[in-house]
Symmetry: C2
Amino acid sequence: MDRVEHIRSVALELFAGKGYEATTMADIGEAVGMRAPSLYKHVASKQDLLAQIMEATMRELLAANRAAVATTTDPVERLRRATEAHVRYHARHRLEAFVGNREIRSLTEPHRGRVLELRAEYETRFRDLVQAGIAAGVFAVASARLASYAILDLGMGLAAWYREDGEHAEDAVVWQYSEFALRLVGAKGPALELN
Amino acid sequence: MDRVEHIRSVALELFAGKGYEATTMADIGEAVGMRAPSLYKHVASKQDLLAQIMEATMRELLAANRAAVATTTDPVERLRRATEAHVRYHARHRLEAFVGNREIRSLTEPHRGRVLELRAEYETRFRDLVQAGIAAGVFAVASARLASYAILDLGMGLAAWYREDGEHAEDAVVWQYSEFALRLVGAKGPALELN
DNA sequence: CATTGCAGCTAATTATCGTTAGCCGAGGAG
DNA sequence: CTCCTCGGCTAACGATAATTAGCTGCAATG
């Protein structure tokens, strides 16, 4: 692994565990096997470390969403696949997702603005998916905004409790949570097993 | 308002807005109209401020849950009312709930242990409600644990985006989210309007 | 073999923070 | 009127943090 990548991954772990503010450059250095000042031979600053992590995370999430939605045009199936991608990302990259959600306030401008923009775009895409299902008459839900918030929050919650070695396999969680999402919006139609 | 109460409420606002670590005693002092050292005439320490807030919050949440569940024995209705209480608390005390969820890691022992214990109890109560519904045959969900996590996470998410003066009235959100919860667990029966 | 630059280190700088010490004015009690 | 306590203030302390300066050894290059 690249030195820089190693530092980033160690920093991610510490940011997730103790929070950005509570993590010191000395902590990161110790975990990576060097003194704090030596880190500056590889990274620009602690803030830069956070910014890199968070921006990359949001871009990955958006990319996963785009890829998932592009595979079909059926509204129900689209929401299902978008949710699957959402949940899977939060399970597979829970540290990134966790930090991405919790440390936005530790980001300084201009990174903060950029990340918030990406985040807003991601939210809008989900809201639009729900809206499309309502318009097509296959979802029964009072507020597309509330429903999409609820679905997004499922992923964030997941990132807080999920563990790779826990009792729930990744695929099981992905399936279950996607099911939750479709139930949430009152999805009807052949694409839904239960109900 | 009592001086101490004033300080606590100001601290809560700052902890919610910038995080515990990023909030200084000088910040709190300025918002309350005095210098940092003067705060110590009223509160023991910054950590104590956080501990008081978080422990009170968890106790209130638990009390609200107990009260809500005690009003009926029907499993569906119990989960609905517990969720309503959960969501309503997170809407009405969103700062407390927000800080309560995010700053656990900033708590030092022994406060941390106590709060985690209360939190675990709260989670267990929800899981048991879901389990009871499954046992009674009125819920159709694969994992009581996942379902209860999902419902709890709805509240936490809510605390992050809800605003008293936003476009969604409290009652509307409470109703909608409770509906989400019942749909999540696949609730059947006369107590459910839609489906 | 000489050189150069990378990547580490220690020491120092600058800043900030929680908290304590000790002073002081106002205002109520006697 | 005097005294004492309450609640504010400034100054100071002790820690700790991010970051910079400047030194050094090693390894690759020629």
